[in-house]
Symmetry: C2
Subunit: 424 residues, 2 copies
């Protein structure tokens, strides 16, 4: 079974939009054990669309087409498909009624242009879209099924997950017996991880993949078939043994997601005082609905005055040790925790760059502290100075990892292979 | 002249990497007045590469090929091109010497696998890569020139800017006389903007494009040729007249960039107190190096206790009006400003959702205030409740726009077409 994707739309072709739908689609299908073998991106010219539908329908078995189902004049997917197949467009009564009901329900008048969205090629099978005005449809041409989906990411993803995957399984014989495990790592490069894990002898049907998602590398352990799946626990144990502290979360897209879940289930509270991370710690938690139940406040105390006035850092600490120091960051954490007597507080202070570094404390120097009701843990780390954003996101990740380890009752401060540390 | 792009690599096809090279390339060429007409993404299978080179070389005049020039066994672009053209690979002596010198200069031993990077198809023209070990090359096949570039974004971009564009101009007759202006808009949908600007009669050679970059829509005014370029000022004036307050910045990627520049040149200071925006206001400013010179602090006071203790909001204000209210947000702004006597303070408090809404104050209700040394401006707006992230990013943009207008001496509070407002 040969799967391909056709992405349509001037804005995708012209680079005005980075095509995240395409990457998401390929990766989602891969998790089903189905590989996307080619992707063609074309603009909104009718003749280009017709040509690409005809051409690829001779090569692939199933083609996911994305975009071009909207109401405006440059939405041409339906018309192009009808032309490619040599049939006419006809009004799909069911979808027309759904459209009218949709607009009535939202108290809006339906523009005439929306009627276009109910026009499908004669032989098309209509595919429901419960969350938008563009229905999908599928047409058989030459060797291939072409399956049309809307460009709006939210609608597209729902249609792929709820309709496309079952459509594929219904029409083709897919060995659906696959399993995927994901591990989030911190503080170790992709080639170093790969070198380490090469020592493991993988059973047939199992592969290890890597995905860079800064500041993390995600490891994907993929098994196809009963035999490989039955070995997953054993191989996972080997991976954990070899990587140790580098694995910081399972089946999570970020450490913030892990912290959010741990804090919710622990029922404890957190305050954050940030300097160089500039709100990134708080912001990554606030991305999750429900974070208000444990996050007391996130204080970005950028200036020294603010560290003194808001957090109660002593002026002489700043004078004697500087803003980027173990002493300052410990007082920041203690101060932030004390304001509302939170269970925990995280604090950061560092030099994100590109300017502001000194010989003693170059760009990439970051002090991080975790205050609990009974103790303060702190470290000053040396991060690669590749970019301001990387320094901030790595600092955020290390701070989260300190809190994560505390919540799990593990040693708060550990070594990461690619992150240096200043001696106290 | 028909330009196409071929992207190679399993990791791009499989969605492990979002193909930002492709978007950057199309957009860069567009600014040169050259449109990329099709993009094909294929994996690392030799037969797929050979097929796509042969097939597209009959359709396009020039094809930018990206990736597959590395030293490992899955880098097959050079070999595939030689096969497609029916010629052999030969060692390029110049590049071999450059490679050896490169490794010597970096004090490293060259691996045998790197020698592969000097093997080019017999008829290839070598293209220099001053920043990496993979040289580019160009081969003529059928109708097309195929121009091969490395996948590493940094090397790729340099080769496109410094060699590819001049290669195209040398081989094809390009009218390079183009000019592009960009306007950032807020509070008006793409179709509404397009309907409004359809009233303008554009001279030949001028086009208006739209790019959604939530919470903004960016308008691109593109002119090709002397005549169109000479009309740009006139058309821009018409756009400004028709769109009024909707245009919030010129030639900027975000309102934060505009605020950063304005605050730096004004030499004034800012404090931020955020609730529903959760650090987004401060964080977007801190993305810019140098923001520490004007940003005193960004206080994410998520809990009521924190609003009272850190910002000095009166408990009775919270009791009488609630956390999401004009009264509370004004006290938040005044309190945040007073701590360090900043010139300005911005404050937000709202319901980002998806839960937490009430009948009076549904999800999407956000109160925003700007405090100056002499006044407080505030409004409570109703935002579309499509997603938590959209509510937060629109609130951030409106807050920035209030400050921007104050800095420019304009009315602080204005109407935006798609954003409602509660009466005081």
């Amino acid at each position: 079974m040969k799967l391909e994707m056709i992405c349509t739309g001037e804005e995708v072709l012209a680079g005005q939009i980075v095509d995240t739908n395409a990457a998401w689609f390929a990766s989602t299908m891969m998790e089903q054990g189905i590989e996307c073998q080619r992707r063609v991106t074309v603009g909104d010219r009718l003749e280009d669309l017709v040509a690409v539908f005809q051409e690829r329908s001779n090569e692939a078995d199933i083609i996911l087409v994305n975009g071009g189902l909207g109401p405006t004049s440059d939405d041409l997917s339906s018309e192009a498909m009808a032309l490619a197949k040599g049939e006419s467009l006809i009004e799909n009564r069911e979808w027309k009624e759904r459209l009218e009901a949709w607009f009535a329900r939202n108290g809006r008048v339906m523009a005439v242009s929306n009627l276009k969205q109910a026009l499908l090629p004669e032989s098309a099978i209509m595919i429901d879209n419960p969350v938008g005005t563009a229905c999908g449809f599928a047409v058989k041409l030459n060797r291939a099924w072409l399956f049309f989906t809307p460009g709006v990411p939210f609608e597209f993803k729902q249609m792929v997950k709820e309709q496309f995957i079952s459509f594929v399984k219904q029409h083709f014989d897919i060995d659906g017996d696959v399993s995927l495990r994901k591990y989030l790592t911190l503080g170790r490069g992709e080639s170093s991880l790969a070198d380490e894990l090469e020592k493991i002898e993988l059973p047939k049907g199992m592969t290890i993949g890597y995905r860079s998602s800064m500041p993390h590398i995600e490891i994907k352990l993929f098994a196809r078939g009963y035999l490989a799946i039955s070995q997953l626990d054993k191989i996972e144990a080997q991976i954990r043994f070899l990587l140790g502290n580098a694995i910081v979360a399972d089946e999570k897209v970020s450490l913030a997601a892990e912290i959010h879940e741990l804090m919710l289930s622990a029922g404890l509270s957190l305050s954050v005082a940030e300097s160089c991370t500039g709100g990134m710690i708080a912001s990554q938690l606030i991305d999750f609905s429900g974070s208000s139940s444990y996050l007391h406040h996130g204080l970005v105390t950028y200036s020294n005055e603010s560290k003194v006035k808001v957090l109660g850092v002593k002026p002489e600490t700043l004078d004697d040790h500087g803003a980027v120091s173990i002493a300052t960051v410990e007082e920041m954490a203690k101060g932030a925790r004390a304001i509302l007597d939170s269970d925990f507080a995280l604090a950061t202070s560092g030099i994100a760059g590109p300017t502001g570094g000194t010989e003693d404390k170059p760009v990439g120097t970051v002090a991080i502290a975790l205050a609990t009701k009974g103790a303060v843990y702190s470290q000053m780390i040396k991060l690669p100075r590749r970019s301001r954003d990387l320094v901030r996101s790595l600092s955020t990740a290390v701070a989260f990892d300190m809190l994560r380890r505390e919540l799990l009752g593990e040693a708060v401060i550990v070594d990461y292979e690619s992150i240096g540390r200043f001696k106290k």
